[in-house]
């Protein structure tokens, strides 16, 4: 059974990110140890056979995982007809996810130059 109590997941002092911001985040992530979120993280690690080489990395990924739980809940609210939740990418930041798993460059106008191969397709009959 999961513990559904609301827990504080934000910084106590609203510290801004400074040169030592990384340390703040790291310390903050320690707060997740022993919580239901860590329990879910352990299940995630088992399910997707994840391996983290150091304790620091484990704690960092735990913090990312918690943020992604919040993101999944936001996506669920914004996209109610789909099911959103924990996936194999739940330990990746948005930047890491984009860098590692996407890779289409630029979404602007891709229409070809006049006379080159790859012209625009003529419209087809689509009535009925």
């Amino acid at each position: 059974q999961e513990d559904f109590k609301i827990r504080q997941v934000t910084d106590q002092n609203h510290q801004t990110t400074t040169a030592h911001g990384g340390d703040n985040h790291h310390n903050h992530n320690h707060n997740y140890l022993g919580t239901p979120a860590e329990h879910r993280f352990k299940s995630f690690i088992q399910q997707y056979d994840k391996k983290y080489t150091t304790r620091e990395e484990y704690i960092h990924r735990l913090g990312v995982f918690v943020k992604n739980l919040i993101k999944a809940a936001e996506h669920q609210a914004l996209d109610p007809t789909a099911v959103h939740g924990v996936t194999q990418f739940s330990d990746l930041t948005s930047e890491e996810f984009e860098r590692m798993y996407m890779g289409v460059k630029g979404g602007g106008d891709r229409s070809p130059l006049l006379g080159e191969v790859g012209s625009h397709a003529p419209p087809l009959e689509v009535k009925d």
């Binding site: 997707y48 992604n68 993101k71 999944a72 996506h75 669920q76 914004l78 996209d79 109610p80 007809t81 789909a82 099911v83 959103h84 939740g85 924990v86 996936t87 194999q88 990418f89 739940s90 990746l92 948005s94 996810f97 984009e98 860098r99 590692m100 798993y101 996407m102 890779g103 289409v104 460059k105 630029g106 979404g107 602007g108 106008d109 891709r110 229409s111 070809p112 130059l113 080159e116 191969v117 790859g118 012209s119 625009h120 397709a121 419209p123 087809l124 009959e125 689509v126 009925d128």
Partner: protein, 230 residues
């Protein structure tokens, strides 16, 4: 147009692939469209090489010279078609297997499995996209993948999804007319999209995206390819 359509039922789609931690979705989208076009032309489903594109294709977009194909760092499907027309074709997966890392180009022209003769950009109208899908086979598509990080299943129809930030290459393989939504208590039409993140992601590797709203920019970068048969 049929009410629903799926190229998987007709044998035009290979198994879901896994790009690994390499931003080569553009290569998987490209091979998927060529695999489908070749199936329609020859009746044979071949599993084609993404690694050839990752290693050998450095083609740049003719309008935007900074959009160049660059292995795991990204690329464009239309650049890849231009490369394959120039190179003389694409090898199959067995002769040039995927490693998930960019390496030295080992393309062997005598091992070409499929030749590409031309390609075309499909209009943004989703009825036109459906017509081209049915008539020409699976289509290479670019979309904004922001909701795909947490997607597990069902028909994705986000209330807000940036249409300009197209950042992921996938393959459109079909569409359905009645994707039931528990929350909305209604049926809605959807696209069936093949992804390259393995079978454990989404619905056995597939993504259902609602149809008719230009959702996540899926209608802005759609292309079909023509293969050359001897």
């Amino acid at each position: 147009l049929p009410e629903s359509f799926d190229w998987r039922d007709k044998g035009a789609v290979t198994e879901v692939k896994m790009q690994g931690t390499c931003g080569a979705c553009w290569a998987f989208s490209t091979t998927g469209s060529i695999e489908g076009a070749n199936f329609i032309a020859t009746g044979k489903l071949l599993n084609l090489s993404e690694q050839q594109l990752v290693d050998c294709d450095h083609t740049c977009d003719k309008k935007d010279k900074e959009s160049c194909n660059s292995g795991c760092k990204g690329g464009l499907m239309t650049n890849a078609y231009n490369y394959l027309i120039e190179a003389g074709g694409i090898e199959d997966e067995d002769s040039y297997p995927y490693t998930g890392k960019r390496g030295e180009c080992k393309f062997q022209p005598d091992k070409v499995a499929v030749k590409v003769s031309n390609f075309t950009n499909i209009p943004v109208d989703e009825q036109q996209i459906a017509a081209y899908l049915v008539n020409h086979g699976p289509l290479a598509v670019g979309l904004n993948a922001v909701f795909m990080q947490t997607y597990i299943g069902g028909v994705s129809c986000p209330l807000i999804c940036g249409k300009r930030w197209v950042n992921h290459g996938v393959l459109l393989v079909g569409y359905g007319s009645k994707g039931f939504s528990i929350l909305r208590l209604s049926n809605q039409p959807y696209w069936i999209i093949k992804n390259s993140w393995g079978k454990r992601w989404g619905e056995h590797g597939y993504y259902k995206l609602c149809r008719g709203h230009g959702m996540c920019g899926m209608n802005t970068m759609v292309s079909a390819v023509m293969t050359q048969t001897s």
